[in-house]
Symmetry: C2
Subunit: 234 residues, 2 copies
């Protein structure tokens, strides 16, 4: 038994007690995730991983009995990394409009923070796999659905707390905000920094339109004003 210190690389909190087998599995998956995030799931192969990790193919097969199993485990790990980078930290924010903001801002910044080594997860993966049958496609769709559900839940809570009006359905607002984030990510990939940098103010502008009078108007004056508002309310 050893301690794992590579939190960022393996997704396991430092100090977690892992068996040698689990640790090896996570090291393999960390490398698989790195490859897939840059080049897509199709770029994964047992042979390539064995070479890069200087392991035997049979050693890798002991952990993943097939390429499909490896793909599926990589998607699950990507989802874990996404959850740790976006969904979990958002729970530190109060329920309601603040959590809507936290989710969107953490999503936007996970691009900038380069949480993944490339842009494939989960937008590239979703558009590549959506029309295909099988468990890998399903796992990819589920990961996106989980994100959208968390966002819709935060919007619904904000509606319950009368911070966001009830004119639009929570799930539809979540899909709309998701579109804004995808558009910003696309601009980022095409090196249109202006548009990407303006994403927080665009998102805040939309929240202002959606908000009720329960939120003071001054909070929406700028992203700085909003951040001050978030701090003073805790």
């Amino acid at each position: 038994m050893i301690f794992d210190n590579g939190r960022r690389a393996t997704g396991v909190p430092a100090g977690t007690l892992l068996s040698q087998g689990s640790r090896t599995r996570r090291v393999i998956l960390a490398r698989a995730l790195r490859i897939a995030a840059r080049e897509g799931l199709a770029a994964l192969s047992i042979g390539r991983l064995a070479k890069e990790l200087e392991m035997s193919k049979s050693g890798l097969f002991a952990h993943f009995h097939s390429k499909k199993a490896l793909e599926l485990a990589t998607v699950e790990m990507a989802n874990e990394v996404f959850q740790n980078a976006v969904l979990r930290p958002a729970r530190a924010s109060e329920r309601g409009i603040k959590r809507v903001w936290a989710l969107c801002d953490l999503w936007r910044s996970h691009v900038e923070r380069r949480v993944f080594s490339g842009s494939y997860f989960f937008t590239g993966a979703l558009f590549e796999y959506a029309n295909r049958p099988g468990p890998v496609s399903k796992a990819i769709k589920n990961a996106t659905q989980e994100w959208l559900k968390a966002l819709a839940k935060a919007v619904a809570d904000a509606q319950d707390q009368r911070e966001i009006g009830r004119g639009l359905r929570a799930d539809q607002i979540a899909l709309e905000l998701n579109g804004k984030l995808l558009g910003a990510h696309c601009a980022y990939l095409l090196e249109n920094g202006d548009f990407f940098r303006k994403a927080p103010s665009t998102l805040l502008g939309r929240l202002r339109e959606l908000a009720t009078n329960a939120i003071p108007a001054r909070a929406f004056e700028s992203v700085g004003a909003w951040e001050r508002y978030l701090k003073t309310q805790h």
Copy 2:
């Protein structure tokens, strides 16, 4: 020399005179496009194509000297199909806000019309290839840039004609509309039909906000009203 009748399949207008070599090349590319649109560019291989088309591998190599060359030609063909489905038909609309609408509506409907056999081009391809070097990545980015430039040009024309205000830069408006379309496509893939069906009215709502008084307010009352407005103005 033969006539090519498979317009949809090969992207060549019916009746175009092609040499046998060009025709074979296009038949190969049509199949390659079909595979890549569903499963991504990485799913392409000379071996698979040879098997599916019942051709010899050496016959395929005579047309495409490498997998990279095949991928590049497939991206070029995908771009041609996209241009024929979206960019070219939009030119039938008057310059200005009408063409902005035509571009967005043709983009939206290219999803519904299943112009590609899957959802990979160009969103999946962009998110998969953006972080990679080389000509395939460059061709994919160029295709997206061409689309965004056409949209930005239409917005700029609408600004010149005083149909859209000058408060926002044309390229930034184009990126914003692109985000709305990506969000709608994402909802479509996740089988959220409500959100996808509402895309025309969402887009029209945004055009109403961007428009100057030069466009009569009644034109924006509904998608039906807008379509009547488009017809009466020709």
